[in-house]
Symmetry: C2
Subunit: 373 residues, 2 copies
């Protein structure tokens, strides 16, 4: 397989051909995926690539999975100079392993790297390294059409000094984790706590990049949501309580809008929204269907509340790599439980998207979105 | 020395008495502090304390300074579950080593821990552990009244799974670094780039905690400031361009305000301002002087511009542990260079504060703010 070199903002390093492989002497047993908690089990190997300002990119190393040796002044630990990506490898019934639009992950990773002041790299070369890692750990890609092998590229500053500045050393590593369904409730509708007390991201911040700081800051709110009897946070923004994201997912509202049009709507990429690859794929897919209006537009809690009152809401759901799509069943807002219709009673857009996207991911529907590795 | 146990939100762990000390077999040479870059040289030992949900707090270990062994799925590296503190040990001419209001650092560290969903601890016990570490590395506290030993407590989540959640494992460690003056320019006035393109912190975020994510996100803006020929960012907030912080420091404006009153003003702790210990000390000190009005109030760029035009600005400066106080000489705002008067021509508040605070820190003026270790 050759990746299209669509992007690269540095000419430094031609990696993949130089990859050094050191195989693990033992192999871990594969876990039972049923009931397995997300991201808790890792494969036998990992990919590690070091960068330094003096030496540039070092050779990629595929090596036994194990702890990293990190300087205690490392800027990744003190100043969150860090970012990550998430994608999956899916095994089809044809036994082929596929990735879903991985070039988009590389592109986003480079965007995050720029924002974090980490050096650029050739995305196509990194993907080729990831392919080599998958080759080594191929037996870890589950034989299942509901499970997959989660791929976590991670990129951190390893500058070993306490000045707040551009790192002179960095570490890019990729780990693999076999996963079943992300939420313990499976595809059951989730309940959301909508409150403006905590704000996920703001203009002039880093909400449109996959940087660690966005996530750590969200955990406290997540537990407050649980205290209110909800599973996730519905992140609001601004005095008009714009609906932005849900938990760690993008958000979609499928409804009849103010103009009486059937519409699938999600907030625009205006700097505070993570440019999700599942988000983009849902937009492109539904636009191709041409069955209803598809919009990137602002949505407020007032819009949602009025639409619910007038029975104009068809479905609401989150989207992300971990879950694909996840229906919303209830929103707790200003002391009021807003019941959201969901697929069981409605049009089944969530089910249809889940089906069409996983059909592509597992190779049941031919698509140039699925890349055989 | 016994620390006052002013705070503690957990009864878990009585640490200090259990400290295990393993001395380094070799001693590093002490660096020349003149021209030494901030936070690049570390002492011979470090303090490490592990926590797990099952076992609670482990014994504190004072051990040879060295790399940490970190799981590659560690939540500190992926989701910035991390926070830090910064304080200094000063050696007086009486050869005694002092800390400056360290209980305030412990209190703030606990506040950050709560926000990061990391477990609480007994601040007085941690301080006692730090005192033991300082005892072991006491020769590293410089014999100088312009240098000091910077103390960096760091607290990170070490949960080794990829779910975004409260960590079940954590690591608290403290490293020490001998430092001279923070800025390469010494106490020369700094130039600032004031632009609302990047926002440091926002309400509902983490700007009032010392969490890593606040700092990593700021680096990109810092380099844009340099591109504009300035040294630091003057962080603005809101449509009215409120002045909030400068670089990694709190901000003070010493001026004649709109009412014609001589006033020292700094933005209030409303959720987006880091509650600096130097900030608090300056407020308390100047209020004790009773020579001018001391206010925690909003200040906008329009206020500053008008005051400059009317010759009402006396001085403007940043404050922080690293620099104590740092005068501002120029602000680039909307294409215009605003020249700020500074101590050389003016009242010398910066010089006076620098003198009074360092007199306390180095024990030249007796004060209960300086704790002999």
């Amino acid at each position: 397989m050759k990746w299209q070199c669509l992007f690269s903002f540095t000419h430094m390093g031609v990696w993949a051909a130089d990859t050094v492989v050191q195989l693990s002497e033992s192999q871990k047993p594969k876990p039972v995926l049923e009931g397995l908690q997300f991201g808790t089990v890792f494969t036998d190997h990992m990919l590690v690539i070091e960068w330094s300002n003096e030496g540039g990119w070092g050779k990629p190393h595929i090596q036994p999975f194990g702890n990293l040796s990190i300087h205690p002044a490392c800027s990744a630990l003190h100043y969150a100079v860090q970012l990550f990506e998430g994608l999956k490898a899916y095994r089809g019934q044809d036994n082929k392993v596929r990735l879903f639009r991985p070039m988009l992950n590389m592109k986003r990773m480079l965007k995050s790297a720029r924002r974090a002041c980490l050096p650029g790299f050739d995305g196509a070369e990194l993907l080729e390294c990831i392919r080599k890692l998958l080759e080594v750990d191929q037996e870890w890609v589950p034989q299942s059409d509901s499970a997959s092998l989660y791929i976590r590229p991670t990129y951190v500053g390893t500058e070993s000094s306490l000045g707040v500045k551009k790192p002179m050393q960095a570490l890019l590593f990729v780990i693999l984790s076999p996963v079943g369904s992300y939420f313990s409730t499976g595809t059951k509708p989730v309940s959301l706590w909508a409150d403006s007390k905590y704000i996920r991201a703001w203009r002039g911040g880093t909400g449109d990049c996959k940087m660690g700081g966005n996530y750590g800051a969200s955990i406290y709110a997540q537990y407050e949501a649980v205290d209110y009897g909800c599973q996730q946070v519905l992140w609001l923004y601004g005095d008009d309580h714009q609906i932005t994201e849900v938990g760690t997912m993008n958000l979609f509202l499928y409804w009849v809008n103010e103009e009486g049009e059937e519409e699938l709507a999600t907030p625009p990429l205006d700097g505070i929204i993570l440019p999700g690859i599942t988000r983009q794929s849902i937009l492109e897919l539904t636009r191709k269907w041409g069955e209803f209006k598809v919009s990137e537009r602002y949505l407020t809690m007032a819009d949602l509340r009025l639409a619910l009152k007038e029975n104009r809401v068809k479905e609401m759901f989150g989207s992300g790599t971990a879950c694909v799509v996840s229906p919303v069943g209830r929103v707790l807002y200003q002391g009021e439980n807003l019941e959201i219709p969901c697929e069981v009673n409605c049009s089944g857009l969530v089910s249809r998207l889940q089906q069409e996207l996983t059909d592509i991911q597992y190779g049941r529907t031919p698509s140039d979105w699925a890349i055989v590795v």
